[in-house]
Subunit: 231 residues, 2 copies
């Protein structure tokens, strides 16, 4: 804690004190005004630092009651889900892509329910395989809502993955991500070149824009895939 005081340096010092137990769990830490005096800086600077600590769940801040160190901090980790191609490149491998199937189709009832669709809406059904150094990396099973994204019908999905095409055409979506494990069906196993019944890591992503549901995709990763995050 030498040099000029910035809100990031204050945040780091707060993090240190919490981890070192200098600020006790469940106990209030000094008020913003007190910390501002201690570090000889403006209260706004302290505020910005404590706000950042509260954002990561380490502090619980309440007016009048002050800021207390969270007793049971919920482990909060930020998951970054990049483009599959980038993911492969980041591992130092050569990415590949093979379109397996692309045709208009009305989703089966359970998929419609998951998408929150009231009626039968035409979708583009896409199956594709992503390769890492020529070995199967992830099997992509996707539904694209043609009511929301009619242009998708003409997307050159044999050359560019739906993943990237969508990102280029509708980059900013909102949605939900679900992580789970699933046993590989015989067909999935054949495509991913692994034993039938293998435990697969599955990422399901559902995205929408204001106009409606955009896509529902299940990414079935070949065995051995891990997702790592720092806390």
């Amino acid at each position: 804690m030498t040099g000029p005081v910035t809100w990031t340096s204050l945040r780091d010092e707060g993090l240190r004190r919490i981890r070192a137990g200098e600020w006790e769990v469940g106990q209030p830490i000094p008020t913003e005004a007190e910390l501002a005096r201690e570090f000889d800086c403006a209260r706004a600077t302290v505020n910005r630092a404590l706000q950042a600590l509260a954002e990561t769940g380490l502090l619980i801040r309440r007016r009048r009651a002050g800021s207390i160190v969270a007793a049971q901090p919920v482990a909060r980790a930020t998951l970054r889900i990049p483009l599959i191609r980038r993911e492969i490149e980041d591992r130092g491998a050569r990415p590949g892509y093979r379109l397996l199937h692309a045709a208009p189709e009305v989703p089966p009832t359970p998929v419609q329910a998951a998408l929150g669709l009231a009626q039968n809406v035409a979708h583009l059904r896409v199956l594709a395989l992503h390769l890492s150094d020529d070995r199967p990396f992830v099997l992509e099973s996707r539904w694209i809502n043609l009511a929301t994204v009619p242009e998708a019908a003409n997307a050159p999905l044999d050359r560019i993955s739906a993943n990237e095409w969508l990102l280029n055409h509708i980059p900013h979506t909102e949605g939900r991500i679900t992580l789970e494990a699933q046993a590989a069906s015989a067909e999935e196993a054949a495509t991913l070149d692994c034993p039938s019944g293998s435990a697969l890591f599955v990422v399901e992503r559902q995205t929408r824009i204001a106009a409606g549901s955009v896509t529902l995709v299940r990414l079935l990763y070949a065995p051995g895939h891990r997702l790592t995050m720092e806390i």
Copy 2:
């Protein structure tokens, strides 16, 4: 955008403009000064809003170059990993806990390597089963470093899960979380009451404090477990 201008309202308006395409992908948005004039507020307020948008990966901000809308926003989702007991309670089920095994033991070499240990260090080996409405929910397989946390040797792990005991004694740790899928071994399957070879969702958490490694735990969830996040 009526009422008083706050940095959160500015952030939300920026999010709307990005999603609506009013701020074009890859293009610079107005400068902070311009936005401050538009919304008739101080530049610091605009700055706080844009900083929040940059934090979530929607904007890329560079001095002199200005802020541009990210072309391929990396989907960033925050994963919240609560106490297992809370996780069960939050699902409206009754949590249960059974200690299966707890004894000092030197970890096998691969575990030592994962923990970054140079020599043989005594650990407490813990196996426990968490129940949800009397049905197996997650199998906890843990190593606790007795060099870092000697008190753990006397923890009443038959009554309180290591999870909670550690959180109460060493609440603020840093570490790494890994998510993967794994096939259930015969023994694991028996404990979790599922077919051998079932695809299990596995959360591995490794935590440490300044003094050294604290614990390595693998949480093997019974089939059907899903982890959901909003983007």
